[in-house]
């Protein structure tokens, strides 16, 4: 029995069970002339039976898929002939990895026939799920549903049971995202711990020099390796500050225009256009920064008699600021719009002008929400990579001069991990240390933003 045969049987018996259970419930109700009928509607009995058919099958299937590789490995190891084991120095895991390589078609000439046989056996185990397994899980499902079919009586409340299963399903789905986040954090933490085994924590956090070139050979020169993260974080800070000083005023003022001055028609037209800016791929912004803005700034500086690099923090930061404008304008526009009209009327009726109303009533009322929007935009700016790679360079300068080239955390992570890497050198592991630091910073920012938004909700509703 192949997978598709199994699937067809599974689906049709699911349909049948649903129909049968619903029908059984209907007949039960019809059979009762007096006294209590079923406490739930008949279709809930159908659903409940269906659920108890599907759940055992799916969960067994899931567990099977997770543990099958281990089982296959175990079975293959059991099959290893004694003479082969001896030729590999009594190490079955070595044979196992060779067999795995062979099973993926990497057969070198002169491979021992025993190994090829083992690989064939392994492939057989891997790709054929035996019909007995399919029959077994179908049987399991039938056991589950037959129990529920027996339960159909006036004492069994099917709707509540179906709903509690539904709730558990929802809980399961929501934990997937949380578990993934936790998984990401742990994968970062373990690699970062390996990094901090080689480079002291405080040297990383407070070091002033960053040059992650470690020596490959003992006698290599100029590759001592310095892992001080300060220049990188200061570069990130510089670019973020530049980006925010472009996007906050422009975004906020356009939000005020959109929500307070533009007519409804104009707003319906302008807002989507502004939001298109958010849909432009960041690589395209990178082109724009590197090819248009950077050289333009350089030419401008030249005509004033300065000399600046064409790769500069200000080019990258400025373009990033433009990219972030829609975040701030769109979110702030929503926040400003949610300030109740009664406050506007109240202020206007006091003889305040429109701009006084905006400055003294609307903005203060919307401020927490606007701050939340700005903080979300900041974490977006900190995480942005592409524009900086293309327009600000990768030199880790410790500088506050916006016309210098700087680098950011994300850019360094990219440069550290691109190309061939050994995953035990501090150079590569540094990426994870930077990653977890960045994760921590943006996490704190986001938590803070959420807290402010929450405070806002409590206060003005």
């Amino acid at each position: 029995m192949g997978f598709w045969a199994f699937f067809i049987i599974f689906a049709s018996s699911a349909f049948f069970l649903h129909w049968y259970a619903t029908n059984k419930a209907l007949r039960f109700n019809a059979g009762i002339k007096e006294g209590s009928k079923l406490p739930s509607l008949p279709q809930y009995y159908g659903l409940y039976t269906l659920l108890w058919f599907i759940i055992p099958i799916l969960s067994t299937f899931l567990i099977w898929t997770i543990f099958k590789p281990f089982l296959v490995d175990y079975l293959v190891i059991q099959k290893i002939p004694a003479n082969l084991l001896n030729s590999f120095g009594g190490n079955p895991s070595l044979i196992l990895s060779t067999v795995k390589a062979i099973s993926l078609q990497n057969i070198f000439p002169g491979t021992k026939q025993e190994l090829i046989d083992l690989a064939k056996y392994m492939n057989e185990l891997k790709y054929s799920t035996s019909s007995s397994f399919y029959i077994a899980i179908l049987f399991l499902g039938l056991i589950g549903s037959s129990f529920t079919l027996k339960k159909i009586s006036s004492r069994f409340r099917a709707r509540q049971s179906v709903e509690s299963v539904n709730i558990k399903l929802l809980i399961f789905c929501s934990t997937i995202a949380i578990l993934t986040t936790i998984g990401i954090v742990f994968s970062l933490i373990f690699e970062a711990i390996r990094f901090f085994e080689q480079i002291p924590f405080f040297d990383f956090l407070f070091g002033l020099s960053w040059s992650p070139q470690t020596a490959i050979r003992e006698d290599q020169v100029a590759s001592s390796g310095a892992f001080g993260a300060i220049p990188i974080f200061s570069g990130t800070l510089l670019i973020t500050v530049i980006a925010m000083s472009v996007s906050i005023p422009v975004g906020l003022l356009s939000a005020i225009y959109l929500s307070e001055y533009a007519t409804n028609n104009l707003r319906a037209f302008l807002k989507p256009i502004l939001e298109i800016l958010a849909g432009v791929p960041t690589v395209v912004y990178g082109f724009f920064a590197a090819i248009t803005v950077g050289p333009f700034l350089k030419g401008l500086a030249d005509s004033f008699g300065f000399s600046i690099a064409s790769e500069s923090a200000i080019a990258a930061g400025g373009v990033m600021g433009i990219m972030i404008i829609p975040f701030i304008s769109s979110l702030s526009d929503d926040v400003i719009n949610s300030v109740p009209n009664s406050l506007r009327d109240g202020s206007l009726a006091m003889g305040a002008t429109k701009s006084e109303t905006i400055k003294k009533v609307i903005l203060p009322a919307a401020l927490p929400g606007i701050v939340g929007a700005i903080l979300l935009a900041v974490s977006r700016a900190i995480g942005e990579t592409m524009i900086v790679v293309m327009a600000a360079g990768i030199a880790a300068n410790l500088t506050a001069n916006p016309f210098d080239s700087v680098t950011t955390v994300t850019v360094q992570i990219v440069t550290l991990l691109v190309g061939d890497q050994e995953f035990d050198s501090p150079k590569t592991l540094a990426a994870f240390a930077l990653g977890i630091t960045l994760f921590f910073v943006t996490l704190v920012l986001n938590l803070y933003a959420l807290k402010i938004v929450k405070k806002y909700r409590e206060k003005y509703d």
Partner: protein, 253 residues
């Protein structure tokens, strides 16, 4: 012979193409309470909002006819609606204190109009306005707490204090008690009586008992038309129009 503060002459209001008010002509006496009654959607609030040109803020709303305050047309081009609204205060249906402290709520108007020179003067003005609104004794210890922390009735009296802080000549009230319980309503009505000594008050109300209690003159609106206007006593005891009679006795509404 009493002086008329507000004269409306053939006032019609349109929301886009829909006519909401039909040629209203109405005189409102100075330093008296005039109440506008009528079923929902009859145009009484729309008329009220014409008097301080709050309808200007609504997109697609236009008005024809003339409204005179002290014999001056308020829709004249040379007249700034911002200055008009400083003379014509308004209290809304739902209490709408700003999300600021009680003090800042009342100080808002004097500050934007530059009515006081020093902070002492401002403090005095705020205190005086709160006293006039009958709120000061209740909240004098927490004048710097947020205005939104007050109860509904207190919030509405705070809004009245805010309105009178800039000494308007006219106060418009748009169903000021509809969100309040009977006790808070009684306090506001008492306050309206008090305020009528100094201000011309126009109040829109759903409650005919309230109109009878607080006002000297009553105007009955129905479907955008002014059906009848007269002394409150005679409107309620002896209406001359059938529709007014029907509304008062609860046959329409």
């Amino acid at each position: 012979m009493q002086k008329n503060k507000i004269e409306a002459k053939k006032v019609s209001v349109f929301y886009n193409d829909k006519k909401a008010l039909n040629e209203i002509t109405l005189s409102i006496p100075e330093k008296k309470v005039t109440s506008l009654i009528g079923p929902s959607g009859c145009g009484k609030s729309t008329f009220l909002r014409c008097i301080n040109r709050m309808n200007d803020t609504i997109e697609g709303c236009s008005m024809t006819g003339r409204i005179l305050i002290d014999n001056k047309d308020i829709n004249e081009k040379s007249l700034d609606p911002v200055l008009l609204r400083a003379r014509v205060g308004m209290v809304f249906q739902k209490p709408n204190p700003f999300p600021k402290s009680i003090f800042e709520n009342v100080a808002y108007g004097p500050k934007i109009h530059g009515l006081t020179q020093s902070s002492d003067e401002l403090n005095e003005l705020v205190e005086e306005s709160l006293k006039k609104a009958g709120l000061f004794s209740e909240i004098k210890d927490r004048i710097h707490e947020p205005g939104t922390s007050l109860s509904g009735g207190q919030q509405q009296r705070l809004c009245i204090a805010r309105a009178i802080s800039i000494s308007p000549e006219i106060i418009l009230m748009d169903e000021p008690c509809s969100a309040l319980d009977p006790i808070a309503t009684a306090k506001i009505e008492e306050l309206i009586d008090e305020l009528a000594h100094n201000f011309t008050i126009v109040i829109v109300t759903h409650s005919m008992q309230q109109a009878a209690r607080v006002s000297k003159q009553t105007a009955f609106f129905h479907m955008g038309n002014l059906i009848e206007v007269g002394k409150t006593d005679s409107i309620f005891s002896n209406p001359s129009e059938k529709k007014t009679q029907d509304y008062i006795t609860g046959k329409i509404g």
